[in-house]
Amino acid sequence: MEQKKYWKGLEELHNTDAHQEIVKNEFSEELPFESEGLLNATTPRRDFLKYLGFTTAAAAIAASCETPVRKAIPYVNKPEEITPGVANYYASSYSIDGEYVPLVVKTREGRPIKIEGNTLSSITQGATSARVQGAVLSLYDVARLRFPSISGTETTWAELDKQIGAALAGLGGAPVVLLSSTILSPSTKKVIGEFLAKYSNSRHVVYDAVSYSGMLQANEASYGKKVIPSYHFENAKAIVSLGADFLGTWLNPVEYSKQFAQTRKINAKKPEMSKHFQFESTMSLTGANADERYTHKPSETGAVALALLAAVGGSVTAPALDGRLKEGVAKAAKELKANAGKALVVSGSNDVNVQLIVNAINNIVGANGTTIDFASPSNYRQGIDSDMAKLVSDMNAGSIGAVLVYGVNPAYDYFESQKFVDGLKKVKLSVSFNDRNDETTELCKYVAPDHHFLENWNDVEGRPGYYSFAQPTILPLFKTRAIQDTFLTWAGNTAAWADYLKNEWVSKLGGQEGWDKALQDGIVEPATAPALGGASFSGDVAGAAAKINSAKKGGKYELVLYEKVAIGNGKLSNNPWLQEMPDPITRATWDNYACVSNTLAKTFSTQLGDDYEINAEKKVLKIKTNGKEIVLPLLIVPGIHPEVIAIAVGYGRGEKVGRAAAGIGKNAYPLVSYNGQTFDYFAIDATVEATGEKYPLGLTQTHNSYEGRPIVKETTLEEFIKNPKEVNEDRLELKKFGPDFRKDGTLYPNYSYPGIKWGMSIDLNTCFGCGACTIACQAENNVSVVGKEEVVKAHEMHWIRIDRYFSGDENNPEVVFQPMLCQHCDNAPCENVCPVGATNHSSEGINQMAYNRCIGTRYCANNCPYKVRRLNWRDWNGADSFENNLYDVADMNDNLTRMVLNPDVVVRSRGVMEKCSFCVQRLQEAKLDAKKAGHPLKDGAAKTACQQACGADAIVFGNINDKNSEIYKIRNEMQTERLYYVLEETHVLPSISYLAKIRNKDAAPKAEKEPAHKEEAHHA
């Protein structure tokens, strides 16, 4: 059917030309462009808009600054398991130098950014240390070797393998020696074994920079077993440590802290705790936590052990000791005997005879099988000093064909490093697998750098049957190769290390499933823990005693070398976090120094006091012993023996190990000596003189006393049992302000917290001051490193610090550690003084910082009674828009290093105040997870970084509105007697409560308090 067409008028019907023209131009209008030119234009609207548009655009383009192009490349094919913004966790293991710490590594977008302890491990139970926390930064160390090299020039792995293969073949039967530190990996050892088996005479020498050879050899002599037993501090009621810093640096402190903490947790319902004696020369972290502490000279170490043996009933005669020490030995012996079967003696000595005497004591007090376990011993240290000494002399004799250096650095830390260096020159083939161009590596012709442990597969065996695994958390950053792959290649095995390891374990665990689970858990342990096993003691006590008694007497001054909690033996010294971590005892950063007592310092006309406190410049001493000398600034440490000087090892590194460590402090290893059997980390005859120079030290705390202020509360166990409420007597005074003084004590409105109210409790009894929390916080919250010069100016940035106070006699002080962080006050003095409201209160009780809003008046910091607020004094991290004003002394702003930054936490620009946020990013995540899962937030789901890192579980955190939470129970049920708030009387209403410290010591006579009591009784 034809479509009908309607017309609207005759014009359309006829469709004239004129009509067509009209239709075509129906809506058109002449554009009113002026043709006379710009200058005499009348500027009609369109022109005006045109010019305006052009000029605005031009001005905008011309005026806009050059914005830096940052490449954010999306995944073309997104890996299934990676969701941007969501963290992945992989089990791993820390086993550097024989420490055993199973880990869980947090990765974001393929980058490991945070290390946590693996709670599935029955040995460490999720504990970590500062060094373990800091290890993630070492992964991104710019000083790491990035490729294999031959004589300093880059090469390929194939070329390297070819040349080394040829070199090994051309040794003509001369022995091949692998020189390594303690290796805990059974599969790695197997690979090494396969490689070494190819060469006759080859051997594996284990060399620990700080050796426990004396212990291994003494155990062999005592029990016929060259092992280090496992210790069970948790079973001990009486603990005597003869210079063993088991909470700080001794063997595996992470494990022992966890155990020891269990014996220090106390409440009024169960007022029991262990008693810990420490006999030592310097002030160690462990000594600082001891109930009773006695000092002696290092030359008396053996005598103290002998005296203790005699006092517990050993058949030796006690050598003469001075009054206080003698008394201490008697007390310790009494306690050990009273707790036979629940007693433990440990010694930090590397002397075979001393360790043998200690074994004899442990044998008498029934430690074997109860607190010491020989059934599943620890693998933590395996080096025998005489093996190393022999190797060095063999090398010098020219009888060694090849030295393969793995994870050790004798050119730096061997006591006669020159001898080692000379020996190495006589070796035909020298290969280093070390991660950086350290003192030894730079002498080796071939450098075949190993992966960082976070890039590699591994299995780690802490005790027989107790395994922890490592898997790559990131693709290797550089052209490094796993040492296991290297050995497999050189041994002619074509299997890749990953497959090799997998095959090992698949067959051990009976299938892929077992292996997958092992990797997932990170742990394989016996289903039921084997019973503790003793060992029968058969050591030659008389012989050891005779040797101890015949030892040379010390000179006027004696010297002790020790490891710092943060730096350890120096292997991780190029770690800015660890360098800047304040030493728990001295509170010093970035240096080593000569620790001396106040008494000794006085002979150099300096002493504790205002002058000493306010001047960072300390007098420099020249210390000579055994024909060697070292020049270091002195640092006064109360509690060190008055005739002893203590110096930390691990400093004085070469220029090539990295910017953070280079040139910091002096190397103290040359002061080590060899007694023919083991290395001695002390010298019994030293001379000291002042050089007349001064040197600044960066201390984060300069005043040592808490001046009797009620900011730290402590009592003795005896007092606590008698009257648990006494420690908090002064809190009763606040009661007279009425029950509602929270509301009445202020002009400002009282906040209500309808949902969550976060709170934290810190137990001063189990805070050992190790500093793991400080580094965990630094890693979690992108806290900047400022460098020594700025620490001297008190510009350090740590959000959580551990205040260390001494009290009592300066030669035998008591020590208390108090972690101090933002108290998240409910009536916060910082909040009402900020003119721009940059710091404010959340509905969950968090005192929060709006960095963008902060203008840096520092008023909040001035008004903070706890002094926990930290200004970004300089541009530490490139977050500032001013060019060339970056202040970075430690390569913290390299693109590589910045990979460690936590993307959930903003990097603060300079001029901005910052402080602890209670890890608000973690709290938000936990809340979101709970919301997604559709249940209320569970207690323990949200953990702060410091809480998680604390090996002693001293920090408890949670929602105090939740009546089932641990924090609620501590505050309202478990610990009401010990609970107090720091500076409660200022009415700032802090959210962090502390639990008073309880010392298991003889109650001191309380002369001052007596009259007050009487008066009260009178009134009543």
Partner: protein
Amino acid sequence: MHLKYESTLREPLVDGVKDYHQVTEDIISPIEGKPGKLWYVGFFISLALLGFGAFSVFWQIYFGVGVWNLNKTVGWGWDITNFVWWVGIGHAGTLISAILLLFRQGWRTGVNRAAEAMTIFAVMCAGQFPIIHMGRVWMAFFILPYPNTRGPVWVNFNSPLLWDVFAISTYFTVSLLFWYSGLLPDFASVRDRAKTKLRKLLYGVASFGWTGSTKHWQRHEALSLVLAGLATPLVLSVHTIVSFDFATSVIPGWHTTIFPPYFVAGAIFSGFAMVQTLLIITRKIVHLEEYITVGHMEAMNKVIVLTGSVVGCAYLTELFMAWYGANPYEFATFFKYRAAGPLGWSYYIMMTCNVVTPQVFWFRKMRRSVAVTFVMSIIVNIGMWFERFVIICTSLYRDYLPSSWSYYRPSWPEVGFYLGTFGLFFTCYFLFAKYFPVIALAEIKAILKTSGQNYKEKMEVYEEEPAEKFAHDVAHSH
């Protein structure tokens, strides 16, 4: 002719034989002539200091406030010390112009112009510190409550630092208005005498078309009175609010209710001292000894000894309260770390300069000695600088937790910044002394015939007359 009659026993306020024209000559001719050598020397030294200050500030802003030696414990040091010091100095100007005007103190006319100028320059210097001391000075506008698109985000009205912003800006505005309105008739005098076109133009603009009509004078008087009324509470409020920066905090040594009166007295004390310093130099250089007489200085010295003693009482009250209050932290701050301890020396400088030495002014001979006055004026300002340093630093450096105790020494940019404000102050003052009538011309003329020496001498005839004769003469004069 004033209706007021002033006894000849009162010292004349203008010495020498003066008539209105002579007064005009004395005060305006320095503006018309070339400045002396001393002026050039002083001016260029001031400019150099200003330049060094600007460099120090640039250094600090570029590299961060970390180039200063402030630290985690002592967050304020020279910066806020200098701020409070300069603000305090400004107080004399307002006191002289406002309160003394209301109290009809004729002697103020000789010194008010310079004192008000000093106020304005001192407040300009003071204002630098709270701005530059910020970690992010480019965000300083955040402290202004203006409508914005960030929420809007408002300032925190609880913060004393914000109150400072209002207090100081109000103070500056009112002082400037007061000063300038007083200048109008004098600028008009300069304009009317001008012999160069440029001077005529500039002073013409500056005098806002002043004709000297009765209406103008009437309005001028009224305005002065209104501004005086407005400024009077400011004398008390500005330093009260500045003191709130400290008084409302929780830090022992700051948390003190006595601060407002104590700060105000201290401010007037230092302000008068600074006026003395400046005027002794100015009267010498510009030869105004006949207008700024020893009598003026004596009057101001009386104020100094009074306020100095008030301040001294406040110091002792603080010490007493620190003991009596039984707050161990406050006790420690005052007795262990302020009156002793590593910063104790600053406390003794303060005590000596502010409390002990001003007592010499109980002696008339000392009050009237130009040399003693000059030395004392400087001593007082040193003392008052240390007072602020003591309050700020000795409270902060050892507060609640001994773990955080620290020490403080200024770094070169901090010192440089302070010197820079001296540069700013004196550059402004030298320009003022050259181009502005240093003495309030119109006002001095107003008192000339009652308090001028030659007029007083004329009255002596009558004074010596017996009362009966005087009454008789007056009765028969008509």
